[in-house]
Symmetry: C2
Subunit: 367 residues, 2 copies
């Protein structure tokens, strides 16, 4: 067995540790090397009962403590060095593991990453990356690398951002789109409330001005194109591959998209019922006919079905999953983690930072 | 003919002045008094050809100039006192008209309102109000007063806001929900990215703290209830009647909701086609069966179909319409304007401000 080792926090999800164990066993049986981190006594028996010993590439790493979802991130990370999250983070820092997956307290994952891994040299703030499904993407796994997605960052790591942060997010997002979605020259945009450069806030105008001047249609490293502002109205039209925004706005976008996508089918069914109010049978027939497609869409939009969101900019491949993740989502996240380690995410970001050093200096001077 | 007079900027929409004339004639023929403001020579002949003279309650008010959509709002309002917008605003200020409707440059409407009407005493910043359709609202006009809507403000007047602004928006929004939607004790919430009081930004935490302490479940004037934070995920679930946020976030929410609602049906049709790829006839039959309901929903979500968005906090009843508005949207806005004038919007806001003077002072002191 070769390939990278992945540290999996076994006590992250709401249903900890069963979904984690199931996902670990599934990916291990395909030959991946997993470090399952958590209370060894609780894990050993369950894993032994599940794994075909011949295929076992799961190593148990003991961690006697856990961090709960409602704990204060900074306090918990400092107070609980023996938590499954912190021990997993240490495995990554020490080089025993080459990537990490956790579905725990996302604030704590952020803090532990910053404290134990640190940032990649040249990056001031890490960002959480997510993907918005696009019209024309067809139906299937939302994080399917080959389907059109618009990469959105920051999805929630930093509620307040500077122009420098947004410019760095552009480089991080472009690196991600190249590495994960195989887009050679991603089209990068700034989220704003109008196409014109002057629209938006001081933050969006500043980021727009710097990216337009110093990247434009052929940036210094020829790594991505800057295509200007994109309005929220167009976020599902695939007019760009990467959109940068502050973590507050990104989080609002992500959660509103989730809410809208969940509300829409219920509104449609109500509209069908209203149309067919004298023909309940007719309404039931129409509803039954579209039911499979509605399920396909619900799956496509289900954030829990598509693995995790990478935290880019920290000095290690870290993937954050939703606390409600099931084995399927964790398995996707583990596949993503393996691929990122194999393709050298951290090295790719390091190169991109070096190639854009001058841009970052200009952004740092921006007022 | 009695009732309030409404000033309608005849040169606001993209297709100016035809949609304005059509809407004015329609509401005038039902007895409303309209002042149609714009180039009299251009308006006179078209109006004369359309209106039954016996029913004519349209008065033409001459304004020799226009403000274009792409003009700088502040500059245009100062440079063009004879523009249709500024003249209409003067009719409102002088008391000749009791409400105003314009589909012109929304920045210019905001500036002209501030410069010519001023703010209602006690209100620091006006806000644009919009309504988000809710699950369970049934199908119909989105701005139908009696259907459940969540009132969102600020939808774009102020990209940067203070805690004081948000607290005032809560009072303005509650007044609006009472007056327009006939909700006696509206449930008011702060938009944030988590239910807990500590979630969000310094702005949301500050507004939450003040509203929780001084309004809570029975505010000083017993005019509304504060129900805490609402997450973007729940914005379509009717968990509150009014949601307050800064104008940047509100504008992003509004435009993203619009984009998602437009993208969803296209994604559903793609999903149906993918499911039925060996049965094009079957796919066509399903598509045809849901087509009427899709149309109903599209109409429900079409921002241009539902009249305008009131600008609350300025000393006059001002309604802003989308530049792409047709006669139907303008007609709805005129109906809204008439009702607001009849029900005494400005007086109602004045009372609400007096009833919450102490809360506003606390908010003003908040750091």
């Amino acid at each position: 067995v070769t390939g990278p080792r992945i540290a999996l926090d076994a006590f992250g999800t709401d249903a900890r540790p069963d979904p984690e164990i199931e996902a670990a066993v599934r990916i291990a049986s395909s030959g991946a090397r997993i470090e399952l981190v958590g209370d060894e006594a609780r894990l050993r028996e369950r894993v032994a009962a599940l794994v075909d010993p011949a295929a076992a590439t799961i190593e148990l790493i003991h961690a006697g403590d856990e961090i709960a979802m409602d704990e204060s991130p900074a306090r918990a990370v400092r107070a609980k060095p023996d938590s499954s999250l912190c021990v997993a983070m240490d495995r990554l820092r020490s080089g025993h593991a080459q990537a990490l997956v956790s579905a725990g307290n996302s604030g704590a994952i952020l803090v532990a990453s910053l404290l134990r891994l640190g940032r990649i040299k040249g990056i001031d703030r890490p960002a959480i990356v997510t993907g918005l499904p696009q019209i024309g993407a067809g139906i299937g796994a939302g994080q399917d690398r080959k389907r059109p997605h618009t990469v959105l960052l920051d999805a929630g790591a930093n509620v307040e951002c500077t122009v420098l942060n947004l410019v760095q997010f552009a480089v991080l997002g472009a690196t991600w789109a190249r590495l994960w979605h195989d887009i050679e020259r991603p089209r990068v945009a700034v989220l704003s409330n109008g196409h014109e450069a002057g629209k938006g806030t001081a933050l969006t105008r500043g980021a727009h001005a710097l990216l337009a001047k110093h990247v434009g249609e052929r940036g210094p490293a020829a790594m991505f194109d800057f295509v200007g502002n994109v309005e929220p109205t167009s976020l599902f039209d695939h007019v760009c591959d990467v959109v940068v925004t502050d973590g507050w706005t990104g989080n609002v976008v992500l959660k509103l998209a989730e809410g809208a996508m969940a509300a829409w089918p219920r509104m449609l069914l109500a509209a069908i019922a209203a149309r067919q109010q004298d023909d309940a049978q007719g309404a039931a027939a129409i509803t039954a006919a579209i039911d499979p497609a509605l399920h396909d869409l619900a799956h496509q939009f289900d954030p829990d079905a598509h693995g995790g969101a990478p935290l880019l900019g920290v000095d290690g491949a870290v993937i954050i999953c939703h606390g409600a993740s099931g084995p399927e989502a964790l398995y996707s996240a583990l596949l993503m983690a393996r691929r990122l380690a194999e393709r050298g995410l951290i090295e790719a970001i390091g190169r991109a930072v070096r190639d854009h050093r001058e841009l970052f200096e200009l952004a740092r001077a921006h007022r």
